[in-house]
């Protein structure tokens, strides 16, 4: 599925946002009848939440005058993706980042079958190529996209560039030519210091992303978005994965009420759990 992309920022082109809508008819995630994928037509999409946090962090660093320029990158089709929409999702995602404070955008054109099979490997190849081309010092991405939950793009990008990485960042501090990253890990927090250039992936508590207000979105229309093709970057998008099947999670069984603790222990023994 469309992956989050980062450069000095990170965006997701097409992460379905479903649980966030609380309208009268909350959209359900449905699996296509042929079990090949999740239905994305008509599902409201927006920037991956972890990518919003990444954008916010980059903009914050620029506001503190610690970095010169923030470039937002996203990969996706040039045209509208869905039949019932007349806007380009990738462009809109980049514009949101520009409205939040990024200086310019890069739209990497990926469409059709390439877009369907776009995953962390392909995105990280694109990111690595762009990072070299733009002479970036810091690549910030969301830790994972909420549609595929891969949590791989940042790590792969760092590996391809042979750069150090600070993943699951809940705090980022630039100290000269090094970056101090406080990471959220199982069991607590880990603080590391890495050299730049480096890759950082944003975790939930890194910051509170600002809302892209209408006046800022209007102003952002003046900012430039460059169009780039993966071939121009020398990137091969061939996927090495084949999705065999997509299934919905098993239906939740109805619970049982018991009157006493003895009943509970009885039932647990019956079902072989004790």
């Amino acid at each position: 599925m469309p992956q989050k992309l980062g450069y000095l920022d990170c965006l997701s082109s097409g992460t379905p946002v479903v649980t966030l809508s609380c309208g009268p008819l909350p959209p359900q995630i449905r699996v296509k009848p042929d079990n090949t994928a999740v239905v994305t037509d008509g599902v409201k999409h927006s920037m991956n939440p972890f990518c919003e946090i990444a954008v916010e962090e980059a903009v914050k660093l620029k506001e503190k005058k610690l970095i010169k320029e923030v470039v937002a990158v996203s990969c996706g089709p040039q045209q509208a993706q869905f039949f019932d929409s007349d806007f380009c999702l990738t462009q809109e995602t980049i514009r949101t980042a520009l409205a939040m404070g990024a200086d310019r955008g890069i739209h990497v054109e990926v469409s059709g079958k390439d877009y369907e099979t776009l995953g962390p490997l392909q995105v990280s190849k694109i990111m690595a190529a762009l990072a070299k081309k733009e002479d970036a010092q810091l690549v910030i991405l969301g830790k994972q996209a909420i549609d595929d939950d891969c949590n791989q793009t940042g790590q792969m990008t760092a590996a391809l560039l042979d750069w150090p990485q600070g993943t699951f960042a809940s705090e980022v501090t630039l100290e000269g030519d090094k970056v101090k990253v406080v990471r959220e890990i199982d069991g607590g927090l880990e603080t590391i210091k890495i050299n730049t250039p480096a890759v950082v992936t944003a975790d939930l508590r890194l910051n509170t992303p600002r809302y892209a207000t209408l006046p800022n979105i209007m102003k952002a229309k003046k900012k430039k978005i460059a169009n780039v093709k993966p071939a121009d970057l020398g990137v091969d998008l061939t996927s090495r994965l084949e999705v065999l099947r997509v299934d919905e999670p098993p239906q939740r069984q109805a619970g049982m009420k018991v009157e006493t603790v003895e009943d509970l222990v009885c039932k647990l023994k019956e079902t072989g759990r004790v």
Binding site: C22, P49, I146, T208
Partner: protein
Amino acid sequence: TMANPLRAEVVRLYKNVCFSSRAAPQLLYLGREYPKGADYFRDRLRAAFTKNKCVQDPEKIKEMIARGEFVARELEALYYLRKYRAMKKRYYEE
């Protein structure tokens, strides 16, 4: 050319529209993701602005614009909390 009294009327109307229309598009934009639906929000927003469209007192208008800006900030906070809580619930065991 317009008669004098009418001209004053038009200027007043323009100012009112001007004041209200400055804030309205931003609020309308924010209302897209309102939990009860964008339409619900838009109808309530329109009703609120229509109810007050005859207000002339510039002090009162300023007050209302301030209230509108307060609502805008409340909406931003609502959206952020909703998203934060959804992510926290989904990914983090507490």
